[in-house]
Amino acid sequence: MFIKNYLIPRLLQYFLVIFLGITIVFFIPRLAPTNPVERTIAEIRSRGTYLDPRFVQDMVDALTEMYGLSGSWLDQYKDFWVRLSKGDFGVSFFQFPTPVITLIKRALPWTVGLLFTTTVFSWVFGNIVGGMAGYAYNRRWSKALDLLVMLIRPIPYYVFALGLLILFGYVYRKFPIAGGATIGATPSFTLSYILDVLRHSALPAMSLAILGAASWFQTSKLIVQNVNAEDFVQYAQLGGVREGRIIFRYVIRNAMLPQITNLALSLGQILSGALITEIVFSYPGVGHLLYSAISTGDYNLIMGIISLSIVAITTLVLIVDLIYPLFDPRIRYK
C-alpha cells in the first residue's frame, strides 16, 4: 500500500519537478533577446581585440556548436538531455577548454565543506537554544536573546558578511580576508595546512553560522511555545518530571520534526547561498565559480551549476520525505 499510494506519486512528482526545472533552465537563454554567441563576440570586440571578418563566421559556427545551439530547438533539447545524463555540460568558456564538470568537481569540496558544516551546526545550535528560550519564554535571558535575534535576523546576508569582513578583516586584523588557504600552500593532511584552511574559513563560517542560527532560533522558539501549551507537557510538569528532561525529550523532540524538513530545504539552497559568501570572502568554491561564470557570460558553466543544484535540492527533499517516519512514529504511509 505504501508503495502504490505514497512512493510512486512522490517519485513521479520528483521526476516531474526536475524535468520542469531543467527545461526552464534550457529555455531561458533561448527565449532571451540576445544570443550568447553574439554576446561573446561582442564582448571580445569590446575588449579592443580586432576580429578579421573572415574568421568571424568560423567563430560563430564554433561557438554555436560549443553552446549546443546548432539545429532546431527540438534537436538541441534532446541533445541537452543526452549530454546531461552523461554528466557532460560542455566546456567552460572562461577557462577554455576545461570541461564544466571538472571545474565544478574542483570547487565543490570547498563549498560543501564550508556550507554543509555551518548549516548543520547552526541548525543544531539554533534549535537547542531556541527550544530552551521558547520553553522559558518569560525569563530575562530568553527575552534578551530574543531582542538580539530580532536585531540580527533582518539584516540581509550580504550586508552582515560585509560588516564582519570590515570589522575583523580591516579594523581588527584578526582573520585573513580572502581565499581558502594561503596562496602557494600545497594541500596535504598536515596539521599546519588544516589550521590554515580553518583560519581562512573563520569569517565566512562565522557569518553563515550566526545568521543561520538566528533564523533557526526564531522558528524553533515559536514552535516550542506552541508545544508548551500541549497537554502532555503540562502533565509532565505536574508529574514532576525533571525540567531538562522535559525540554529535551518532550518539547524539543516534538518541535524538531518540522525543522527536519526545513533543514533539507536549506541544505538544498547551499549552492545559491554559496554565491554571496564566496564573493564577499573570495572563497574558492562553486559560488565563486558561478560569479566568474556570470561576469564572463559563461553559459555552459552557469547552466551546469544551476542544473546540478536543482537535482540536489529535489533529491534532498525527497530523501527527507521518505525517511520522515523514522523521526515521527505517528506518521504511517497508508
Partner: protein, 289 residues
C-alpha cells in the same frame, strides 16, 4: 474586523517594536522625499570635490566620483523603495489571484496552480533570477528590476492565502451567501477580501524587504544598472573604488547602515503586525505583559 482603524493603530503602538519601526520608516521616507529637492542630478559625476570627509557643506562627505554622499543616499533610498514597492505590489496581485482561484475553485485548477507554486518553491529561485537578470542586463532599470523580482516573489504567499481561503470556504457564511444567490465575484470581494487584505499587507512588508535585499545582491554581482543610484549600486560603487581599503567609512557605511535600519524597521513592523493579526500569539503577548 469590527475594531476601527484608530484603535487598531493604538493597539499596535503599544508594541515598542512597532513604534520604533514606524519612526525609523518615517525618517527613511523623509530622506527619500528629500531627494526631490536635491541640488544635483545624482547620475552626474564631479558635481563636488572628491573624497571629502564629512563637513558642514557635505554632511556625509563626498565620494571618489565627486558626488555628495548624503544626496546619493537620498536617491538610493528612494529608488530602492520604489523597486521594492513595485515588486511587492505586483507579486501580491499574483499571490492573491493564485491563492483565491486555487483555494476557492479547488479540484483540477487547485492541483495545477499548487504544482506550479511548489515548483517555484523548490527550484533555486535566486540562481534563476540571476540568470534572467544576466540576459536582460542592458534593459535593467527600476521597473524591470521590480517586475523581475515580482515574478518570483509570490509563491510562498500564494500558499498562505490559499490556506486561508480553504478555511473560509468551509465556514457557514460561504454557504449562506451561495444559497442566497450571491455571485462568486461578489462573495469573494465582499466576504473574503476583509480576511485576505491583512494577510496581503503583512506579507507585503516581508516581500518588500526581500526585494530590497535581492536588489542589493544583484547589484553586488553586477547585474543591475549601475547608473541608477540604489542602496545596492551605491555600495557597489564604494567597493569598486576600494573604499574599505582606503578607509572611506563615510561612503561605505552610509548604504550599509541605511539598509540595516530599513531592514530592521520593515522586519519589526511585519512581526508586530502579524502577531497582532494572529490571536494565538497575541494572547501570549498580553499574558506576558
Amino acid at each position: 474586523m469590527a475594531m476601527s482603524f484608530g484603535s487598531t493603530l493604538k493597539e499596535l503602538f503599544r508594541d515598542y517594536r512597532f513604534a520604533v519601526a514606524f519612526i525609523l520608516l518615517c525618517l527613511l521616507i523623509t530622506l527619500a522625499v528629500m531627494s526631490f529637492f536635491a541640488p544635483h542630478d545624482p547620475t552626474l559625476w564631479y558635481t563636488a570635490p572628491r573624497d571629502l570627509p564629512p563637513s558642514r557643506q557635505h554632511i556625509l562627505g563626498t565620494t571618489s566620483r565627486g558626488q555628495d554622499v548624503f544626496w546619493q543616499a537620498a536617491f538610493a533610498i528612494r529608488n530602492s523603495l520604489i523597486i521594492s514597492a513595485i515588486a511587492g505590489i505586483v507579486s501580491r496581485v499574483i499571490a492573491v489571484a493564485v491563492g483565491l482561484v486555487a483555494g476557492y475553485q479547488g479540484g483540477k485548477s487547485d492541483r495545477i496552480l499548487m504544482f506550479i507554486t511548489d515548483g517555484f518553491l523548490v527550484i533555486p529561485l535566486f540562481l534563476i533570477i540571476v540568470m534572467l537578470a544576466m540576459l536582460i542586463r542592458d534593459k535593467m532599470n527600476i521597473f524591470t528590476t521590480g517586475l523581475l523580482l515580482a515574478v518570483f516573489g509570490w509563491a510562498w504567499d500564494a500558499r498562505v492565502i490559499r490556506a486561508q481561503v480553504l478555511s473560509l470556504r468551509e465556514r457557514e457564511f460561504t454557504r449562506t451567501a451561495i444559497l442566497s444567490g450571491s455571485r462568486t465575484l461578489e462573495l469573494v470581494s465582499k466576504e473574503y477580501m476583509p480576511y485576505i487584505t491583512p494577510l496581503a499587507f503583512s506579507t507585503l512588508i516581508n516581500n518588500m524587504s526581500w526585494a530590497i535585499g535581492m536588489e542589493m545582491t544583484l547589484s553586488i554581482v553586477g547585474l543591475t544598472n549601475m547608473d541608477i543610484p540604489t542602496l545596492g549600486t551605491m555600495l557597489k560603487w564604494a567597493l569598486n573604488y576600494q573604499a574599505i581599503l582606503m578607509r572611506r567609512w563615510n561612503w561605505v557605511l552610509t548604504p550599509v547602515m541605511l539598509s540595516v535600519f530599513l531592514f530592521i524597521a520593515l522586519y519589526w513592523m511585519s512581526v508586530s503586525i502579524s502577531e497582532y493579526l494572529d490571536p494565538r500569539t497575541r494572547v501570549q503577548r498580553v499574558g506576558v505583559e
